[in-house]
């Protein structure tokens, strides 16, 4: 027998795994792609369209619902006729006050772990249960951990200077450098080289990104780091969001866990999707994200996502723990 033929028969009965067997590996990938989507997904290559002036400034407590005639600007790409909007300036003023009243958490040690439990729903999953993920990352970012068939697996993270993602510790360092004056903060995030030049290999997208789109995207990324967020800075972020053209607040936006919150979004021409950062309406804690497709998204002749498709995520738990595998 030919040696190659014999070799092809060796372990030829090795099975191809089914979707269930691959679920854990797929979930690890999706966690990575979701994180990247959250960091990069607010990318807009379209022209900014100023809508902020369209929001009526109605003085009232906490939330005032605003009726907006949307037929002029967006036409049939409007997310939903039933969508209700709040006065962005009121929401951000209130959010800033609530944030300023938070107490500052102590700084974690580099060998402590940040725990996060999240839920995601992909657009093609319909009303399924979604994917729940639990993950741990060392505060210094050198290791990650997770349960795999009930067994805790700790993995080393090789340094990748070309990546735009940061360890919790480096996020904390970056946050400490940021100005707490809303105008200075906005100028900083509009032009921060870290979010322009990285990740390496993504082409010239970073430089082409509209500064307002970048400001909205970067502040959204920062607001997800609530475990290590200085209260004064968080307040400044809400005030800065209120100054970005096109940023609005929709009421009753659902996260992947079905919780309804305030959906902060940025409207601009040419966007295929509307992305919401969802905040709890009273505490202004970060609940999750929601991406709504405003029109069919094609790839060549393939329909990738139908208009009205939704991707969503929800933060179910997070905190600083002593060891990988601990939840509190």
């Amino acid at each position: 027998m030919d040696d190659l033929t014999a070799l092809r028969e060796l372990r030829a009965d090795a099975p191809e795994p089914d979707a269930g067997r691959l679920a854990a590996a797929r979930a690890r990938l999706v966690t990575g792609t979701d994180r990247a989507a959250n960091r990069r997904g607010f990318l807009s290559l379209g022209r900014p369209m100023v809508l902020a002036g369209a929001f009526g400034l109605v003085a009232a407590l906490v939330l005032t619902l605003v009726q907006i005639d949307r037929t002029g600007g967006i036409g049939d790409t409007s997310p939903s006729k039933a969508a209700r909007y709040a006065s962005a300036s009121e929401v951000f003023a209130q959010a800033a006050l609530v944030a300023e009243a938070r107490s500052t958490d102590a700084s974690p040690r580099p060998d402590q772990w940040q725990y996060r439990k999240s839920l995601t729903r992909q657009p093609d999953e319909g009303s399924g249960a979604g994917d729940t993920m639990e993950e741990w990352i060392r505060y210094d970012g050198k290791q990650t951990a997770g349960y795999d068939d009930g067994r805790l697996r700790i993995r080393d993270v090789p340094p990748d200077p070309g990546d735009d993602d940061l360890s919790p510790q480096r996020y904390a360092g970056k946050l400490r450098e940021l100005p707490t004056d809303p105008d200075k903060l906005l100028a900083h995030v509009r032009g921060d080289g870290h979010w322009i030049d990285l990740p390496v290999g993504e082409g010239a997208t970073g430089a082409r990104e509209d500064p307002d789109a970048r400001a909205f995207r970067v502040i959204s990324v920062y607001l997800e780091q609530q475990a290590i967020m200085p209260p004064k800075l968080e307040a400044a972020m809400y005030r800065a969001l209120g100054k970005i053209p096109g940023v609005g607040v929709e009421v009753g936006v659902e996260d992947a866990a079905g919780r309804k919150g305030l959906g902060i979004f940025r409207e601009a021409g040419g966007l295929d999707t509307r992305r919401y950062l969802i905040l709890e309406p009273e505490t202004f804690r970060y609940l999750g994200t929601r991406v709504l497709w405003l029109r069919d998204e094609m790839s060549g002749s393939d329909l990738m996502f139908r208009a009205g498709s939704v991707y969503s995520s929800a933060e179910l738990a997070s905190g600083i723990v002593e060891k990988a595998g601990q939840r509190r």
Binding site: R11, E16, L22, L29, D163
Partner: protein, 203 residues
């Protein structure tokens, strides 16, 4: 009818390069690449290292690929060679484990790797004489030669695809394959007078 048939044909499949390109702005699209290639890649890793390693290596392969997607050569519509190349590096870190299993198979006829995925835990998988001989040859190959041989025999890659996967010239693929097959042929044929010389050459 004709229009429907045409649409079915053209919308059948977006090529991998296009998926990867799209995933730069829409990272979630990368999961489609996983659905397309993970089963086959998982089987290949299982065949080399056994059932218990495959999940981790497949997950690590796709995460690493995702991180490098900005550097993907867009002229290559099929991403399999690229993925196999990333997996080859990860498999290479478990070289001792892999070689140990070939040695055990050659010596005892018991294939730990085949047992790792066999349905019945108590079923001892006993190899044929030819497979024991092949295993003894696989154990003596250098890592690079073994990668070339098994990417061709088990992953069905072409010479050109193997070259691309491992980042080596096609000429090197040919010479590595030649060297590897000398050993597998010799193992099957009983003895190869050049084997000792080869062993010394390899360094």
């Amino acid at each position: 009818m004709i229009a429907d048939a045409q649409r079915a044909e053209t919308s059948d499949r977006t090529d991998d390069a296009e998926l990867i390109r799209r995933s730069r702005d829409e990272p979630g699209v990368f999961a489609a690449l996983f659905d397309r290639h993970a089963p086959e890649l998982h089987r290949y890793v299982t065949r080399r290292l056994g059932d218990s390693m495959a999940d981790d290596i497949v997950a690590d392969t796709f995460l690493a690929a995702f991180g490098k997607r900005g550097r993907y050569d867009a002229t290559r519509p099929d991403a399999r060679p690229w993925l196999y190349g990333i997996a080859a590096n990860l498999i290479g870190k478990h070289r001792r484990t892999e070689v140990r299993s070939y040695r055990a198979l050659a010596r005892t006829g018991v294939d730990e790797v085949a047992e790792s995925y066999a349905d019945r835990v108590d079923a001892e998988v006993t190899a044929s004489a030819a497979h024991r001989e092949l295993a003894s040859a696989l154990a003596t190959l250098s890592g690079g030669d073994r990668d070339v041989l098994l990417l061709i025999a088990w992953a069905d890659l072409s010479y050109d695809e193997v070259a691309h996967a491992l980042g080596i010239p096609v000429g090197t693929v040919r010479s590595r394959l030649h060297r590897a097959r000398k050993k597998t042929r010799a193992a099957l044929g009983g003895a190869d007078p050049t084997a000792i010389q080869e062993e010394a050459d390899r360094g």
